[in-house]
């Protein structure tokens, strides 16, 4: 896209642009005509905005989630111009396809999880609208709901619960590490087989961060696992550049 920036021409007497101002659930310059223009940012918009802020950029609209689950913010550009930055969902193959294709029985689409009560007060309605696969079982919905509120998740792998292995106590995280490794690796492979496009994957697991076992969970050539401070007393890992594609990572701290 080309942005043509030019000075005042002979005979013109431009007036300053109106400042952008917030309304009930939106912002505008409150003037007829072009209000702002938008860029789709294909990466971690939160990180990018932090970098802009360091450079002195101001945000008349801070980063927030839009009505369709996308992240957005408004940047104050020179000349009174407002620029909307968006981080959009990365497309969806559709929940039906995901539910049919993933090869372990606990995988479920949003609709099929809706009848489950949440043990921590978060309901499946908190799932983002484009969340196409939620790997969870038993009492994992509290965590899933929390993550969904923090940001949009294409897929959530709950490695702290038993997907297909032996039953574990739902109120503790003392599951066999070997089983957890198997489940998460299986889930990665399953998701990779279903979603050919880049995607965000958030993994919940209770292994200690930076442990050798945790590091080994990253499938070879598939990306990088990083650990942050998760809520709910768990370690939360975020997968970057899953399947060799650049995807936005999610800060869940």
């Amino acid at each position: 896209m080309t942005i043509l920036i030019r000075g005042r021409r002979l005979g013109e007497a431009p007036v300053p642009a109106r400042p952008i101002r917030p309304y009930a659930d939106f912002s505008s310059h409150n003037a007829w005509g072009t209000d702002h223009f938008g860029f789709l940012y294909q990466g971690n918009l939160k990180t990018f905005c932090a970098e802009l802020r360091v450079k002195g950029v101001t945000f008349p609209v801070e980063l927030k989630k839009g009505v369709n689950g996308s992240l957005l913010c408004y940047v104050a550009a020179p000349d009174g111009v407002s620029i909307e930055l968006m981080q959009r969902w990365l497309g969806s193959p559709g929940p039906g396809r995901a539910a049919r294709s993933l090869p372990f029985r606990q995988i479920s689409s949003n609709s099929s999880t809706s009848s489950r009560p949440s043990p921590r007060g978060s309901t499946p309605e908190h799932f983002p609208p484009h969340s196409s696969a939620v790997c969870s079982n038993r009492d994992g919905h509290g965590e899933v709901g929390t993550l969904a509120r923090l940001g949009a998740c294409r897929a959530v792998i709950d490695g702290s619960r038993d997907f297909a292995g032996p039953a574990t106590r739902p109120d503790t995280f003392d599951f066999p590490r070997r089983a957890a490794k198997y489940r998460i690796a299986t889930a990665y492979s399953a998701i990779a087989s279903v979603f050919p496009a880049p995607r965000d994957v958030v993994t919940i697991m209770s292994l200690p961060p930076r442990s050798p076992t945790s590091r080994s969970l990253t499938p070879a050539g598939r990306g990088e696992l990083r650990f942050g401070a998760g809520g709910l007393g768990e370690c939360v890992s975020t997968l970057h550049q899953f399947d060799a594609h650049a995807v936005g990572h999610r800060d869940v701290a």
Binding site: M1, T2, I3, L4, I5, R6, G7, R8, R9, L10, E12, P14, F37, F39, L52, K55, V57, V75, A77, P78, D79, V81
Partner: protein, 62 residues
Amino acid sequence: MSNPAFKFDHVHIISENPRASADWYVEMFGATIAADTVARGAPQIFVRSRRDDDPDPGPTAG
């Protein structure tokens, strides 16, 4: 716009300081200055995003 005859081409900004504004887009968004010209007695700078599939900016009457 579903009519294939149309393709979005440019945003036109009237600036008090075109050079400073252009530099802002370069610094903040990694844009490039494709052309620095004068038109109708006023500076006119073409700033481009770095998408490879964007065509080169052609002359525009603005």
